[in-house]
Every structure is written in structure tokens, then in C-alpha cells.
């Protein structure tokens, strides 16, 4: 072989190697955005070409997930009802955050003004979604129906917000916590009956987070057999079903205008016959954690597990 050809070949090999190494290093340096192709809870496909930097949340649950996966710094708009993990109302007042208004049927304009590159909507804001998409805004609708749906949404939001590894870690933490409680609860020798009041004369039926959490915590929701998600229930049905544990939301219970405290509940006509009243197994729960499709459902499960099986999980 000619000497000059050898040089050319050697040069080529060196160039190829250098380019390959450089490309590899360059590749390492720029974190690849894994968002790419996303499918939301309504089956809508969205492709993001670059990581979003201005995210608007249209539901308290979405806000909680965004902050939990570490994308809080990208959030530029929340609703009036977002109150966790921070007191956003105070932020809005101090000018550090913008509120787009209600989470129910919000108007489009205050959202568009924020110039978001990603909007996380919910079933309650689905009317605004069509308008936003017509205006070319990237929107994902989150509508988790149960705990596994919430875990999926955490991964989806993590991918969309370019915080996938954090989301994976959070998801696996929550899954472990939930599985651990559910497994321990499954070993319980009894299945106490639980009444959860959503509002006076109204309880939670099947296909609600409340129903799912009570079941996972080793209890039996006495209105699991109802035909609607939030059934109107008579006092008589509660007495007849005779729950061992009763749980009331802090939103109503003890508030002055309903002039009913936990003590008053025991004095409702005929309720002295209910086992939960006799054993004083009456508890109050934060209604946000048990109703929002967010990471705090795991806390709600832990709280309920203590109420339902204190012999396993300790006193609430």
C-alpha cells in the first residue's frame, strides 16, 4: 500500500474517532428531552419539541403534582383553589404568581395572556381546552379515576415537564407506600364498616377515591353498593348499616354555620345506636387530601388506615 494512502486512512480514522467522541460528549452535555410524544387521559396525543418553561395548571391536583415532581419553578399560573404545597393566594397577592381564576370552566383569556407553552387542564376545564388548542396552545387533560390513574398522571406530568426521573422516583415511592399499607391492611383479621360523610345526608359511593382508599385501608365503605358516586343517604340507612368508623370532612364539620360539631353528630336522632358512636370512633379528615387526584392520596390512605386499623397502624 502506498505511504500517502496510509496517511489519508489514518487521518480519516482519527477524524471519525474525534467526531464520534465529540458527538458523544456533546450528547452527554445536552440533556435529551424525553417529553416527545404524550397521550393524555382523554386519549389526545401531543408532541412537545422542547421542554416547557411556562406551565399553567388548571386544577389543584395538577399543581400539587407539578410541585411534587420538582417542576414548581416552571409554573406561571394556578387557580384560586390551589392551596398546596404553598399558600398560592398569598403568592398571588405578593405578585409572585398569577391566578387564572376558577378551576371550573375558566375563561381562556387570562390563560393565553400568560403565554404558556404547556397547560395542564382537568375534566372541569374541558370547555376551555378546545379553545386553547384552537389557539395553538399545548394542553394535556388529566382525569384520573383511581389511584393507578393518579400514578400514571404523575409520570405523564413528569415527562411533559421534563422532570421524568423525579416523577419516576415519586411514583415508585408512592406506589411502595400505598402497597405497603394495603398489604398490611390485607392481613387484618377484621374488615370494619366505614361511613364517610361528604355533606350532611350525602356520602361517597363507588368509583370515588374515598371508596377506593377505604377499601385499600382494610375497611368496607357502607355505601359501596350505592348507585351513584355521591349518593343522598338517609339517616336510617346509616343506622341500619351500623358503621364501626365514621369519617367527616373538615370542610363542613365544626364550621359554625352548620352548627354541628363532632359531639353534635353523636346526638343526631337514633345515632346513639351506631357502633362508631358507642366506641367514639369518629374522625375528621382533610377533605383536600382525600378528594384530589394528587400525591397526597397516599397520606389520606395512611390517615384512614390508622382510623380503620389502629391495632396495626397505631392511633390516628
Amino acid at each position: 500500500m502506498e505511504k500517502s494512502v496510509k496517511y489519508v486512512l489514518a487521518t480519516l480514522i482519527i477524524v471519525v474517532l474525534v467526531v464520534a467522541v465529540y458527538a458523544y460528549i456533546a450528547h452527554q452535555g445536552v440533556d435529551e428531552f424525553e417529553g416527545g410524544d404524550l397521550v393524555d387521559d382523554m386519549g389526545y396525543s401531543l408532541t412537545l419539541t422542547s421542554p416547557p418553561e411556562r406551565i399553567v395548571s388548571l386544577a389543584p391536583s395538577n399543581t400539587e403534582i407539578l410541585f411534587a415532581v420538582g417542576a414548581g419553578d416552571k409554573v406561571v399560573g394556578v387557580t384560586n383553589f390551589c392551596n398546596y404545597p404553598y399558600d398560592f393566594a398569598a403568592w398571588v397577592e405578593a405578585g409572585n404568581m398569577t391566578s387564572i381564576g376558577s378551576f371550573k370552566n375558566p375563561s381562556v383569556e387570562p390563560i393565553v395572556v400568560l403565554d404558556p407553552d404547556l397547560v395542564l387542564a382537568s375534566k372541569q376545564s374541558v370547555d376551555a381546552v378546545a379553545s386553547l388548542r384552537n389557539l395553538g396552545v399545548n394542553v394535556l387533560v388529566l382525569d384520573a379515576k383511581n389511584i393507578s390513574g393518579v400514578l400514571r398522571d404523575i409520570l405523564l406530568i413528569g415527562r411533559a415537564a421534563d422532570r421524568y426521573s423525579e416523577a419516576v422516583a415519586l411514583e415508585s415511592d408512592l406506589r411502595q407506600k400505598i402497597d405497603a399499607i394495603a398489604n398490611q391492611a390485607a392481613d387484618a383479621t377484621s374488615t370494619p364498616k366505614v361511613y364517610h360523610e361528604v355533606y350532611p345526608s350525602m356520602s361517597a359511593g363507588p368509583e370515588t377515591f374515598i371508596d377506593e382508599l377505604i377499601t385499600l385501608a382494610g375497611g368496607e365503605n357502607i355505601f359501596h353498593d350505592a348507585s351513584t358516586r355521591y349518593p343522598t343517604v338517609s339517616s336510617e340507612a346509616v343506622i341500619e348499616k351500623n358503621p364501626d368508623i365514621m369519617v367527616f370532612p373538615d370542610k363542613y364539620m365544626g364550621r359554625e354555620q352548620f352548627s354541628e360539631t363532632m359531639e353534635d353528630v353523636k346526638n343526631r336522632p337514633g345515632w346513639e345506636l351506631i357502633s362508631a358512636v358507642q366506641t367514639d370512633a369518629i374522625y375528621e379528615i382533610n377533605s383536600d387530601i382525600i378528594s384530589r387526584a394528587g400525591p397526597r392520596l397516599a397520606d389520606a390512605l395512611e390517615t384512614l388506615a390508622k382510623m380503620i386499623h389502629p391495632e396495626i397502624f397505631g392511633q390516628p
Binding site: T228, P231, T232, S234, Y252
Partner: protein, 359 residues
């Protein structure tokens, strides 16, 4: 010449005592039967025994034998007050409907026509959404504000409509519509800003239900208003008959029109406010029951008013009993049942007897 149907109608009207007697018996049967319906299965004989035990003299005749204490509590402390509240609310709405249809000489009038319902919903929404709280004698502020809201609205509409010493009914109706729309807008706004967990309560209240009436407190809270309202309306039922001839005619016949109108409006408002304050907005009863009863006993308000009250009471007791049993452990909205069961029957009556029908 009178047509056959007119003669038939007159004959029916002259038989009003018979109708009233039959309706009273029906009322009694419905009352006892609706005590028999509910989530808990309690044998009918036990219910009769439990009821007998409550009466001082019969008390000794029936042995307390083998009745579950739980069943006694359910019948006496839960079903009985609820059935009585159902009867009171049904009677109040029907009697107020008769009164308002008489004052306005308008078949479309119902107890809610001049804002009693939107006033009550506004009061309820303020309590549920904004947490406005008033506590009075242990009655919760939802009830108080619904009652006050309803009453104030009717008085407001009445005062806005006053022209000198007269209150023309057309102005009254139109003012009622305007004020209702205004209040409704506020309620809608409150619904929009309400948190989801609070919204359950508001929607529940607006749909209407007798489930919150399962305690004797509720009976005592509304009984005086409904008794007084109905009694006053009954005392003025002769004047309602004369008003039906037209206000000018009534004036000539010596009726102090404006005074009578005011008294009747207030008594109707009292009844309606008391009813909505415990049960929310139950539609249909106040509009249709007066017409239905008119088809049976004719337009004389002295007969029509008490009969409507009895029919309204029986009708709402039946609808509430159905609402308790048709959906398993939960309940169906009673307002849906009143409309679904009542409307087709009313249309049937209207078509069959329209010749003899007058307002």
C-alpha cells in the same frame, strides 16, 4: 244549554264533600304506608305496634314484646318526622300555589313565582359557599338564611311593585321575574367560585331532598309557619273567590283588595319559605297540585285550598317514599320523582276534562 261535560263538572263540584272525605282517607293510608317504606326492613305489624306504643292509652294494650329497639328509633325518631315534614312541605307548597294562582289570576303562578325560590337559594348559597353563619336557637344557619332570603325577596318584590297604594299584579309578576334573574345570577356566580367539595352541598340543596328532615326539630321549626300561613289563607279564601272576578269587580263587592292581597302574599311567602328552608327547592307540587285538585273539586277556594293541601301532602309523601326505595341504599332526587310521576298524570287529566276546566 249546558254541555254534558259541563254538567258532569258541576256534579263533581257538588260532590266535593265526598271527594274531600275520600282524599282524607287516602291521606291517612299514604301516611301509614310511607312509614312502611325505607332502607331498613321493618314488618308492617311492628310499625303499627310501635305507633300504638306512642299513644298513652294504647300503650298498655300492646306488649313491647319482640320489637327491636333500633326499629323503634328508626320509626319514631327518623321516619315519622320525615313523613310529617313531607306532608307539611307538600301541603304548604300546594296551598301557597292555590293562593298565588288566585291572587295573580294566572295558571302559571306557583309559590316560587315572585322570587321565594331564588331568595332561598341565595341564602343557602351564601351559607354553603361563603360560610356566612348565623346561629339561632340551635337551628342551623342554612335553614335560617334560606327562610329569611325567601321571605325578604317576596317582600322586596312586593314593595318595588307598589304604585301609590296599589300593587298591580302584572308589575308584581314582572318584578318577581327581574329580581329572580338578578338573584339567580349571584347564585350562579357563587357556584362558579365554589370549591368542588362545597359545591356538592349547594347542588344537593338546590335539587331538593327530604333527607335532611329526619328529626323532630325540623317539624317544630316549620309547623307554626305552615299552620298559620294555611289558616290565614283559608280565612281569606272567600275573598280569593271574589278576586277571581277581577279586581274592579271585587272592589265593588266590598273587598279591600290591596289589604287582602298583602295578607295573602305574606301568608303564601311564610308557607313557602318554611317549606324550602328544610327541603330545598322541590318543584312541580306548587304548580300542578292546585290544578289537579281544581279538576276534582272545582274552583271554589274555600274547598280548593284545604283539598289542595291534603292532595299536596299525600303526593309529596308518596314521592318521598319512592325516592327512599327506588335506588337501593342511596336516594333518588324527590323533585325528579314529583315531575316524572305527576306531569303525565296531570296531562291525562287536563286532556280528559279540559271542557270543565277553569282557573
Amino acid at each position: 244549554m249546558k254541555t254534558d261535560s259541563e254538567i258532569a263538572h258541576l256534579r263533581r263540584v257538588s260532590h266535593w264533600k265526598l271527594y274531600l272525605a275520600v282524599l282524607l282517607i287516602v291521606f291517612g293510608i299514604v301516611f301509614v304506608l310511607s312509614l312502611n317504606l325505607g332502607y331498613a326492613h321493618i314488618p308492617f305489624s311492628d310499625i303499627l305496634t310501635i305507633l300504638a306504643k306512642q299513644v298513652p292509652i294504647l300503650d298498655n294494650l300492646v306488649g313491647s314484646s319482640n320489637i327491636l329497639p333500633k326499629h323503634e328509633v328508626i320509626i319514631v325518631q327518623i321516619r315519622l318526622p320525615r313523613v310529617i315534614c313531607g306532608a307539611l312541605v307538600g301541603a304548604a307548597l300546594a296551598a301557597a300555589g292555590v293562593t298565588y294562582q288566585g291572587i295573580f289570576r294566572n295558571p302559571m303562578a306557583d309559590p316560587y313565582v315572585i322570587g321565594a325560590s331564588t331568595g332561598a337559594s341565595l341564602g343557602a348559597a351564601l351559607v354553603i359557599v361563603l360560610g356566612v353563619g348565623v346561629s339561632l336557637l340551635g337551628v342551623n344557619s342554612l335553614q335560617i338564611l334560606a327562610f329569611v332570603g325567601s321571605l325578604i325577596t317576596v317582600l322586596l318584590v312586593y314593595n318595588i311593585s307598589r304604585v301609590g297604594s296599589r300593587v298591580p299584579v302584572t308589575t308584581l309578576l314582572l318584578t318577581g321575574i327581574a329580581v329572580s334573574l338578578f338573584q339567580n345570577a349571584i347564585v350562579t356566580f357563587l357556584k362558579v367560585i365554589a370549591e368542588e367539595s362545597l359545591l356538592h352541598g349547594l347542588v344537593f340543596w338546590i335539587i331538593g331532598s327530604l333527607a335532611p328532615t329526619e328529626s323532630w326539630d325540623k317539624v317544630w321549626a316549620i309547623l307554626p309557619f305552615i299552620l298559620i300561613g294555611t289558616a290565614v289563607a283559608y280565612l281569606y279564601s272567600r275573598d280569593l273567590n271574589i278576586l277571581a272576578l277581577g279586581e274592579d269587580q271585587a272592589q265593588h263587592l266590598g273587598v279591600e283588595i290591596e289589604k287582602v292581597k298583602t295578607i295573602l302574599l305574606v301568608s303564601g311567602a311564610l308557607m313557602t319559605a318554611a317549606a324550602v328552608s328544610i327541603s330545598g327547592l322541590i318543584g312541580f307540587v306548587g304548580l300542578i297540585i292546585p290544578h289537579l285538585t281544581r279538576v276534582l273539586v272545582g274552583p271554589d277556594h274555600r274547598v280548593l285550598l284545604p283539598t289542595s293541601a291534603i292532595v299536596g301532602a299525600s303526593f309529596l309523601m308518596i314521592c318521598d317514599a319512592l325516592s327512599r326505595v327506588v335506588m337501593g341504599s342511596g336516594e333518588a332526587p324527590v323533585g325528579v320523582i314529583t315531575a316524572l310521576s305527576g306531569a303525565p298524570f296531570f296531562i291525562y287529566l287536563l286532556r280528559r276534562k279540559r271542557k270543565g276546566y277553569t282557573v
